[in-house]
Every structure is written in C-alpha cells, then in structure tokens.
C-alpha cells in the first residue's frame, strides 16, 4: 500500500462514526439513483416481456405503429398471407391485440389482451403454471398474480372485451406494475370486434440462415401499408416509450441523488480535513509536496464513495430480491449501463467533494505547526 493510501485509509478509519455517516450518506444517495434506474429497467423488461418472449423474429404492424403500448394496430387479415409469401419467412401468424380492463372481485387492472389462433406457435403464454396454454372458445389464460389478488382460479369467470371468459390457464411472468397479459381465442376476440377480417400484428419467424434485420427490410419493401421491425427493435421501441414517459422523473431523482451524495461526501471530507488541518500542516512543514496531500484527500473521498457505491449496489440488489416477494408486481433489474452511470456519478462526487478540502490544504501555511499548540 502506498503512503497515500495508507494515510488516507487510516484517516478515514480514525473516526468510524464520521466514516459511517459518509458511506451511509453516499450509499443512500446512490441507492436513490440506482434503485430508480433498476425500477424503470425492471418495469421496462416486464412491459416488453411479451414481445421478448413471443418467439417471433420480426413484428409486422400497421404502418406507423412501432410498439404495443398506447397504440392500436389494425391491418387486413390478408396481410398475414402477404407476409408469408416473402422470401425468407418460415412462419407468419396473426394476433389480435388491445388494451382492456380486467376485473374480478375487488381487483381491477389493465391487461394486454391477445387473441391467439388455435394452432399459434408464437405469441402465446410461455410459462403456464396451471391449466392449458391454449384457450378454447370462451376461455382465457390470465396472469397468476392477478388471479391470486382477485381470488380467482381455474374455472372462474373474468370479464374482458365486454364479455366473460372462463379461466382455463394461469401464467407466470406476464404481469408488470401497470398491467398484465391475458390470452383469449382469436375468434372470440374477432367476434367482439364485429367479425371484421382484420388483425393487429403478424408475428414472423425467419427461415434458417435468414437474419431478422434482412428479413424485416425485405418484408417492408414487399408488403404495403406495414411497419416492420425485428423483435429486438420492437422491444426497444416499447421500452423507450416507457422511459420517455418517465424520463423527467428519472432525471430529477438522479439530480437529487447526485446533490445529496455530493453534499454528504463534501461535508464529511471537509470536516475530516479541517480536523486534521494541523497534521496536514505538519506534513507540509516536513516537506510533503502539495500533490501528495491532495492525493490523500482525493483518496479519502474516493474510498468513501467507492464504499458507498458498493453499499448502494448491495442495497439495490437486496431490494430487487425482496420487493417481488412482497406481492407487488415490480421487478428491480440492475442494468450494466446503470452501474456504469452511477459509478461515473460517484467518481464525479468524489472529485468535487475533494475540491474544497484541497483548496483548504493549498492555502495551509506550513508554519502553522510552529505557531499553534495542540498536543498530539
């Protein structure tokens, strides 16, 4: 360990209460940022879980439609055949989609309602824990968490699309903070829409050796009136919409976290430096270069912030494990990008927090040791 790290570490450990306040403050501030990011990342993943787990390589929607949330896509049923005829398409299947309210008992929530054809191999539930994965006429497969909260089970009836469906299956992983996904028969869904020969989306599987990007481009040029995206791009558009809607909230909370963290670290490092002012003066008198003293202060701030960062990650990880078990439809997902961002914020906090003490040391006159009297 270098002389810089040795002195910085010992100075930090000298006052454990001050160290705890410093690390705790940073951890709290960074947790604010990290947890919020994790919540939005988790919500984003929940919202795009259906898209991500659809089994499709390419999504075809009505022209201008780039996602599921808060939109309606309506295309002629013949679009499915037109897409299927495109070179490189192994399979093309239609789904119907709308957002509707679903209620049972005192429980009421929003649901992405998906109309599935009887032989659909894409777009259906992917983790059925009870009952069937393909609803028959008059049947629905709904999210288990919603069913639990509503107190319904297999055989019970839930209203959707203006009629009642009998619960024939329960799925996992189809609920988010804001909605769940429910699956009903394509024909029942179409009937509720007046029997029009229309579809919402076409899910496409690429043939072997065909890349989704190339296929999406080919479908886009071959079929009129459609918007074509790979599943990855479609999910990204969905996630971006959610983040755009909550971007201001995230920014505000990030700024609050940054300011709180900066204030806590700056104050504790400043107080620590002030308390050791005479010792820094001694080191100057003995010939320690200013650069060495600056590095000690920076290292102290850095160590506080790194410890705070590690604690924040641990707290957020603990939250992400605990929160889903409380029954709330909320998953916290710590993304790599978020860790990088918060680490960068932490580094900036450490650097800024050290500025004031460094300025204080720069102005410190080494002759202080000969003029003031405090026994050590």
């Amino acid at each position: 360990m270098s002389a810089t790290w040795l002195l910085a570490r010992r100075n930090l450990l000298r006052s454990r209460a001050r160290l705890a306040v410093s690390i705790g403050g940073v951890a709290l501030a960074l947790t604010l940022v990290l947890a919020l990011d994790a919540i939005f990342e988790g919500v984003g993943r929940q919202l795009t879980a259906y898209v991500d787990r659809s089994g499709a390589d390419v999504w075809v929607a009505q022209s201008g439609v780039r996602n599921l949330h808060m939109v309606a896509s309506w295309m002629p049923a013949a679009t499915t055949d037109a897409v299927a005829d495109v070179d490189g398409v192994a399979l093309a299947e239609p789904i119907l989609y709308t957002t509707d309210s679903m209620s049972a008992g005192d429980e009421r929530g929003w649901a992405y309602v998906i109309g599935l054809t009887p032989d659909a191999s894409m777009g259906g539930p992917w983790d059925v824990v009870e009952g069937t994965d393909r609803p028959g006429p008059g049947e629905a497969v709904i999210d288990r968490r919603f069913a639990q909260r509503a107190g319904v089970g297999l055989g019970d009836r839930v209203p959707m699309l203006g009629r009642e469906f009998r619960v024939a299956g329960l799925t996992e992983g189809t609920a988010s903070l804001v909605n769940s996904v429910a699956f009903v028969p394509f024909d029942d869904f179409a009937a509720r829409r007046g029997g029009e020969p229309a579809i919402s989306y076409v899910l496409v599987r690429a043939s072997a050796g065909t890349s989704p990007d190339a296929l999406a481009e080919r479908i886009g040029t071959s079929v009129d009136g459609v918007a074509v995206q790979t599943t990855a791009a479609f999910g990204l558009a969905e996630r971006k919409l959610v983040l755009d809607m909550s971007g201001d909230v995230i920014s505000i909370m990030n700024v609050i976290g940054f300011v709180v963290g900066l204030a806590v670290v700056a104050l504790t490092v400043y107080i620590a430096t002030l308390a050791l002012r005479r010792e820094y003066g001694s080191l100057k008198a003995f010939g320690a270069p200013d650069g060495y003293l600056y590095r000690v202060v920076l290292a102290q701030a850095g160590m506080s912030v790194v410890a705070g960062f590690v604690a924040a990650v641990a707290i957020t990880a603990a939250l992400s494990a605990i929160v889903p078990r409380t029954g709330v439809n909320l998953d916290l997902a710590i993304a790599g990008a978020s860790l990088v961002k918060v680490a960068a914020v932490a580094a900036v906090i450490a650097a800024l927090a050290a500025l004031l003490p460094i300025h204080q040391i720069a102005r410190l006159d080494p002759v202080i040791v000969a003029r003031e009297g405090v026994s050590t």
């Binding site: 010792e279 080191l283 320690a288 080494p366 002759v367 000969a370």
Partner: protein, 303 residues
C-alpha cells in the same frame, strides 16, 4: 548526510503593512557550523519561532538572505522548498505533531517514503532509529498511547530519518517534565556530536544551555550585544540582570524579578540572622544562580 552550513545574513521579517506592520525579526545575522548546537533564547514574542521558521524554509524573510551550503533558500519559490525541507532539515516541535492515525513506525517511515525511499527500506530504517531511541517495543503504538517523552523521541526519530544536516527544534522540552526534558536534551547533544549534525534549538528552558555550544539571546527581534541572565533566588524566575531589582550582601549581588521577592529574600536573611544561619541562606541562594548568556550582535558570542 552532508555537513552543511546555514548562513543567515541581515534577515528581517515583517508581518502586515503600514501602521499595523509588526517586525518580528530585525536585521539578524547568524551562521551555524556543522556539529554545532546553538540555543536561541529570549522572552515570548521576541521572534525566536519566526527566526527558526525562516531558518527551516517554512517562512520567507522580508529582507536578507538565508543560505544553506551556498544555496539561497530565501530566493527559492514555495514550490522548490519542500524537497529541501524534506532532506536537509529535521524538525522537532513542542507539540510533537505526530500523525494521530498512524503508528509511530508509520509516522517515521512515512517521511522517508516521501523522500523517495521504498516502503520496506523506509520501515527498516525507521525501526532501527526508533529502536535506538528506546522505542523498539512500541513500534505499532498509536501516538496517543505514548507519554510526552516518548512522543518527542518519535519526533526526533522522524527528524532523523532522512539524514538531515540540520535539526531545528522549537521548544522541544516545553511539554515535558524536567527529567524527560533533560533526557531529550542529552539525546539531541549525542545526535549532534556523534552524527555530526547541527542542532538549532529555540527555547525558554534554561536547562538546555548545558548542552549548547553557543547561546544567543533574541529580544525585540534582535540579538542583544551582551545579556546576562540570572535566577531570582526567591521565585526561581529567570531575570535579566541589568534590569532586575538587586541587593548586595557580603560582596555578592542578588537579583530579583520584583521588589516583593527582594523583600522576602531580605526578610529570610533577617530571620536566619537571628537563628545564626545567615551564611547558609546565602550559600543556598548562590547555588541556584545562573549566569547565562552573553550574546553578540552577529550571533557569534558564546556562553
């Protein structure tokens, strides 16, 4: 370690400007030779610490030059001074100024590391010096666990770690009791004589004069031409002989800080007269007198 000579020429230090300006040191000259122990004494506020700070390159003089083996320290910028302070000077302060978070070994080794020593070598050297100073069993102690004398020995070890040619000590015995103070002074003398280092000590402590090669008296920022100090036989205070209240008995002069002490002294003589022990009182009083220093304008006069 090089045998360096510190040459202080016509140095003045003034704080502030205009009517509020205070001149702490006025046109002082002084040369320190290798292995020499110089004691600078004087009343509080006489400029001793300011002079020592300038000699140690902690302060720039307002006028005059300070040369260390020919290098004009007073002309160097603040940025150029730390390496000189680190390698050429060893500082010892009244308040020890040890780093509270580090063990005594780390306190000493750190200064060697700052001077460029490798960690292992620095620790080995620090261990050797501390052991020599009788602190070998306390290397891992924090300063707060040590007595005042031990702390000052750590400060001396730290001052020695980079083999400086000059040791500058500001009131090194002020926070120590009499016995430990003597011990520290003997240690400094041994360091000077055995290791060939120059030692400059600023102090109020008259006991230090015993180890000094030269004693200077600084007052109002100047070395006084001739000054004779003595001790009030009643209260023990150091007094300037020329300014003191005095009385003569049996051909010998006695000096007092005040008329009160003189009256008390005379009162004791009268009562001892009645008891027939007058000569014993005078003998006792004489034994505590200390004719201290005669200083010279250029700081070269000796005790």
């Amino acid at each position: 370690m090089n045998a360096l000579t510190l040459d202080v020429r016509n140095v003045t230090k003034r704080y502030g400007d205009g009517e509020t300006a205070v001149t702490a040191v006025r046109d002082v000259s002084l040369a320190i030779q290798p292995s020499e122990i110089v004691l600078i004494m004087g009343p509080s506020g006489s400029g001793k610490t300011t002079l020592l700070s300038m000699m140690g390159a902690l302060l720039h003089p307002t006028a005059g030059t300070i040369r260390l083996d020919g290098t004009a320290l007073s002309d160097l910028s603040e940025r150029q001074l730390p390496p000189i302070r680190l390698r050429q000077f060893g500082f010892i302060f009244q308040d020890f100024n040890l780093l509270s978070a580090l063990s005594i070994l780390e306190n000493v080794a750190l200064v060697a590391e700052l001077a460029g020593s490798k960690r292992k070598a620095a620790r080995e050297k620090a261990t050797a010096i501390l052991t020599e100073l009788g602190l070998g069993a306390r290397l891992d102690f924090l300063p707060e666990k040590l007595s005042g004398g031990e702390k000052q020995r750590v400060a001396i070890a730290r001052a020695l770690i980079n083999d400086p040619a000059l040791i500058l000590a500001d009131e090194p015995t002020a926070n120590l009791d009499s016995k430990i103070g003597h011990e520290i002074m003997r240690l400094l003398r041994r360091i000077a004589k055995e290791q060939g280092r120059s030692v400059v000590i600023v102090s109020h402590d008259q006991r230090i004069r015993d180890i000094a090669d030269r004693v200077l008296w600084l007052e109002d920022g100047r070395f006084k031409d001739v000054i004779t100090m003595t001790t009030d036989p009643v209260c023990g205070m150091t007094v300037e002989r020329d300014r003191a209240v005095s009385v003569e008995r049996d051909g010998e002069a006695f000096y007092f800080c005040s008329k009160g002490c003189r009256e008390e002294f005379l009162g004791r003589l009268r009562s001892e007269d009645m008891g027939g022990c007058r000569s014993a009182v005078l003998q006792r009083a004489g034994s505590v007198f200390a004719h201290l220093a005669s200083g010279a304008r250029d700081g070269h006069a000796s005790d």
